[in-house]
C-alpha cells in the first residue's frame, strides 16, 4: 500500500497542480483543458482513441522486436572481431546521430504512409542502443578471463556460443530496456510526418481542429502505453537475465 502511494504521489501532485492552474488562472480549455475535461473526452471518445492506440502499440512492439533482433544479430556478427567492429562503428554511430525527424520524410517516400515506414522509424531508433550494449558485452570480458580461455585451446565457435555470447546477453538486455523507453519516439514521429492512424496522427488531427482536450487525452494514453510496454519489456528482460553477476 505504501509503495502504491509512493508511486502514485507524483501523479496526484501533478494533476492537482494542473487543476489548480486551470482553476486559479481561469485558462481557456482550448489552451489547457482541465483534468476532468480530459477524462470526460477520454471516456466519450474511448473507442476512437483506443483504435489509434492499438496502431501505435503495434508499431512500437513490432519495431522493438525487429530493431532488437537486428541490433543483437549485427552485434553478434561483428562483435567477435575487433577490426570489423572498428570498421562498422562509424556507420552505426551515424544511424543514431541522424535525427529521426531528418530521415522520416525519406522513409515515407520509400515505404509509403502506412505501417511499414513507422515500423522502420521505430526499428531504427531501437537498433543502436541494442547493438552498442551487446558490443559492450563482447568487450567487457576481462583480460585474465581471455588468457584463461586461451590456455584452454578453444575452438572459435565453441568459445563464441559457450562463453562470449552468454556473457554478452545481460548487456544486450540492458540495451533492450533502454530501447523500450525510446521506441515510442520513433512511432510517434513517424505518425506526425505522415499517416492516417495512430496516437501521433490523432494528436496532430485534434490540434488542427482546436480539440486540445482530445490531444491531451491521446497524450495521456500514449504515456500509459509507453509505460506499460516499458515495464513489460523490463520484466521480460529481468526474467532472461540470469547472468548479471558474471565476473566472479
Amino acid at each position: 500500500m505504501n509503495r502504491l502511494l509512493q508511486a502514485t504521489f507524483p501523479f496526484i501532485g501533478l494533476i492537482s497542480l494542473w487543476w489548480l492552474i486551470v482553476f486559479i488562472f481561469d485558462v481557456p480549455h482550448f489552451i489547457l483543458p482541465s483534468p476532468e475535461r480530459v477524462v470526460w473526452v477520454l471516456v466519450e471518445r474511448f473507442p476512437l482513441i483506443m483504435s489509434h492506440a492499438i496502431t501505435t502499440a503495434l508499431e512500437i512492439i513490432c519495431g522493438l522486436i525487429l530493431g532488437a533482433s537486428l541490433g543483437f544479430g549485427v552485434a553478434c556478427l561483428i562483435g567477435d572481431s575487433k577490426k570489423l567492429t572498428q570498421l562498422t562503428m562509424p556507420a552505426l554511430v551515424i544511424s543514431q546521430a541522424l535525427p529521426v525527424f531528418a530521415i522520416a520524410p525519406i522513409l515515407m517516400l520509400w515505404l509509403g504512409y502506412g505501417f511499414a515506414s513507422k515500423l522502420a522509424m521505430t526499428t531504427l531508433i531501437v537498433f543502436f542502443p541494442v547493438t552498442a550494449s551487446t558490443l559492450a558485452g563482447f568487450r567487457a570480458i576481462p583480460k585474465s578471463w581471455e588468457l584463461t580461455f586461451q590456455t584452454l585451446r578453444p575452438k572459435r565457435a565453441q568459445l563464441f556460443w559457450l562463453i562470449r555470447l552468454p556473457l554478452a546477453i545481460p548487456y544486450a538486455l540492458s540495451g533492450v530496456k533502454v530501447a523500450a523507453s525510446v521506441a515510442p519516439i520513433g512511432a510517434v514521429v513517424g505518425e506526425w510526418v505522415g499517416s492516417s492512424s495512430g496516437l501521433g496522427y490523432l494528436m496532430l488531427h485534434a490540434n488542427g481542429r482546436g480539440q486540445t482536450d482530445l490531444m491531451f487525452a491521446a497524450l495521456l494514453v500514449l504515456c500509459v502505453e509507453a509505460l506499460v510496454i516499458w515495464s513489460l519489456v523490463n520484466r521480460l528482460a529481468n526474467r532472461f537475465d540470469q547472468n548479471s553477476q558474471v565476473i566472479s
Binding site: 576481462p142 583480460k143 585474465s144 578471463w145 588468457l147 584463461t148 580461455f149 586461451q150 590456455t151 584452454l152 585451446r153 578453444p154 575452438k155 565453441q158 568459445l159 559457450l162 562463453i163 552468454p166 540470469q242 547472468n243 553477476q245 558474471v246 565476473i247 566472479s248
Partner: protein, 218 residues
C-alpha cells in the same frame, strides 16, 4: 624448458620497464615477486600469447588468476570440464570420474553439481585449481591466485598447490612471499629495471629484507 630472451615488458604510454631474459628448467617451481606495475602479469600474458621472445617446450599451459574465470550459470563440474567442452571433446564417463576425483582432492566433491554462482570465493578458487589440474599442462602460471582470499583460505590453497602440482613447472606471481613460503623454495624479483635472483624464499623473513629485494637493493 621455458626461455625468455630480451622481452620488453614496457607498455605504450607508460614508464619504460625491464627488458628481461630468463630461463626456467622443466619441473622448476619459482615465485616471481615484484611491486605493482613492474610487468609481472604482462610477462605471463606474453608466455600465454606466445610472444616471439618466448620459447617453450610445450604449448600446454594452465593459467590461474585472481579472477577464477568460472561461468556462474554452469555447475562446478561443467566449469572443471570447460576446456574439453571448448575443444569439442565428448565427455566420457572416465573424464567425468576424473573431474569428480579432482574435486574430491580440493574438498569440493560434494558440490560437483552445484551452480558455481552459489559458491564462496575460496570455493571458486578451488574449482579453478581443479580445472588447472584436469588440463594436466606441463607449465602452470599462477597470477596472484590467492589475492582477495582470507588468510586461512590462502594457506589451504597453498597446501593444495604444494600437494597437487608436484612435477609441474610453476611460476607463481605474487606480492606476498607468505603465499609461497610454505610451498616453494626459490623466488625471483622483478623490478622496473631488471629481474634478480634466484633468492631463497626464507631470505624474505623480515619486511625489511622484502622491501630491499622489491627495490632491487638486496
Amino acid at each position: 624448458m621455458l626461455t625468455i630472451s630480451n622481452l620488453d615488458l614496457s607498455y605504450p604510454g607508460y614508464d619504460p620497464l625491464a627488458t628481461l631474459s630468463w630461463q626456467i628448467s622443466s619441473g622448476d617451481q619459482v615465485a616471481l615477486l615484484g611491486r605493482s606495475g613492474t610487468g609481472k602479469s604482462t610477462l605471463l600474458a606474453a608466455i600465454i600469447e606466445g610472444a616471439p621472445e618466448v620459447t617453450k617446450q610445450s604449448e600446454r599451459i594452465a593459467y590461474l588468476s585472481q579472477q577464477p574465470a568460472l561461468l556462474p550459470w554452469a555447475t562446478v563440474i561443467d566449469n572443471v570440464l570447460l576446456g574439453f567442452k571448448l575443444r569439442g571433446t565428448k565427455h566420457s564417463s572416465d573424464l567425468t570420474q576424473r573431474a569428480v576425483d579432482l574435486l574430491d582432492q580440493v574438498d569440493l566433491g560434494a558440490l560437483a553439481y552445484r551452480k558455481t554462482s552459489l559458491l564462496s570465493g575460496g570455493q571458486k578458487a578451488r574449482v579453478a585449481l581443479a580445472r588447472v589440474l584436469i588440463e594436466d599442462s606441463d607449465l602452470v602460471l599462477l597470477d596472484e591466485p590467492f589475492s582477495g582470499l582470507d588468510r586461512s583460505t590462502r594457506i589451504q590453497m597453498a597446501g593444495l598447490c604444494q600437494k597437487l602440482l608436484v612435477g609441474k613447472t610453476v611460476i607463481l606471481v605474487t606480492h606476498d612471499p607468505r603465499d609461497a613460503q610454505d610451498w616453494l623454495d626459490t623466488a625471483m624479483v622483478l623490478t622496473k629495471d631488471t629481474i634478480k635472483g634466484p633468492y631463497r624464499l626464507n631470505e624474505f623473513g623480515s619486511d625489511r629484507a622484502l622491501i630491499q629485494a622489491l627495490d632491487g637493493d638486496l
